[in-house]
């Protein structure tokens, strides 16, 4: 019995692997408290041509659930195009203050997709993604939040619980379908979800301003090179 308690107790730490608090990770977020975020179309440096659209269509959901007003990406892209800003590389060099003048946003997210690799093993698959996100204040121009970590999401078939060789074969088949043909939208959403676990909660989340001491799963404090 005692052993069980000890085991359970340790599993808390294993489950979350905490090492740094959100406040230590992004102190400026708690100073400025941005309410709204404008996500710019990402610069795709990966070899996956579709990565940009996967990213853009799945970023709003987890980021709004973190408590931020997120400008609808489709409209933002359209407006930027009308202003002659369709090239992502050019966009990355526009100072954050300009986006405040234009959209009234508190912060701008500059995004580069560094890696989007599909790992395919017969019975298991995953997508390894590395995305560099830099959230800058449109008031002061300073970096409020910076994230650059590798995130891995499994694309393994759902039939893993069916034992035996037959189960393994079914699993291999579903993994192949899931990894090859599919539908990376849910995978991309999970990637974004994982990334935004490291962002402090915004105004529209009930834990707004209560998460300074929340530990996040990061090996080290990432800093912009």
């Amino acid at each position: 019995m005692k052993n069980l308690i000890i085991l359970l107790f340790f599993s808390i730490f294993i489950g979350c692997a905490p090492s740094i608090t959100k406040q230590e990770f992004a102190p400026q977020m708690y100073v400025e408290h941005p309410k709204s975020i404008l996500v710019l179309p990402p610069l795709n440096k990966s070899t996956a041509a579709d990565a940009k659209d996967y990213y853009l269509t799945t970023v709003a959901e987890p980021l709004t659930n973190s408590g931020y007003y997120v400008y609808p990406i489709e409209i933002v892209t359209d407006i930027l195009k009308q202003e002659g800003l369709s090239d992502t590389e050019t966009m990355m060099n526009v100072p954050p203050q300009k986006f405040r003048e234009f959209f009234g946003t508190d912060a701008v997210m500059y995004v580069s997709i560094l890696k989007w690799n599909t790992v395919y093993l017969i019975t298991s698959g995953s997508v390894k993604v590395q995305i560099e996100c830099e959230l800058k204040s449109t008031r002061t121009g300073i970096t409020l939040w910076y994230y650059n970590e590798e995130v891995e999401v499994s694309t393994t078939g759902d039939n893993a619980n069916q034992g035996g060789l037959a189960g393994l074969l079914i699993q291999a088949a579903t993994t192949a379908i899931k990894t090859a043909a599919t539908d990376y939208v849910p995978v991309a959403r999970d990637v974004n979800k994982k990334i935004f676990l490291a962002i402090p909660f915004g105004k529209y989340n009930k834990n707004f301003n209560k998460d300074m001491l929340t530990k996040i799963e990061l090996k080290k404090k990432t800093e912009k090179k």
Binding site: A60, T64, N65, Y69, P72, E74, N205
Partner: protein
Amino acid sequence: MKIISSVIVAIIVLQFIGCAPETQFYWGNYSKTLYAYKKSPDDKTLAVHKNSLNDIITVSTKKHATVPPGVYAELGYILLKENKEKESFECFDKEIKLYPESIEFIGKLKAEFHSGETK
């Protein structure tokens, strides 16, 4: 024994508090339909995406949850392109009411429409 089991329960509960993600907005099929539209933009994929925006509004209202940021704005923008000014502006006003920080952005969308009219 009783104490031990309550300690176990407490620890299990703690685990969920520590790690459980908070989902507050209902987003339905948004990502999927938007992705499909971006991959092959045509009337059909746009209609499907519009349906998914309407579904988010219906379900959120039913669940007494707030419609997520940007959904009314996006629907309004599609309606604007369909030249349904009245319906569109109603959506835009709802967006501002729910999310006051969108006022400048929505104002811009409205102004652009009117400047397009006079051209």
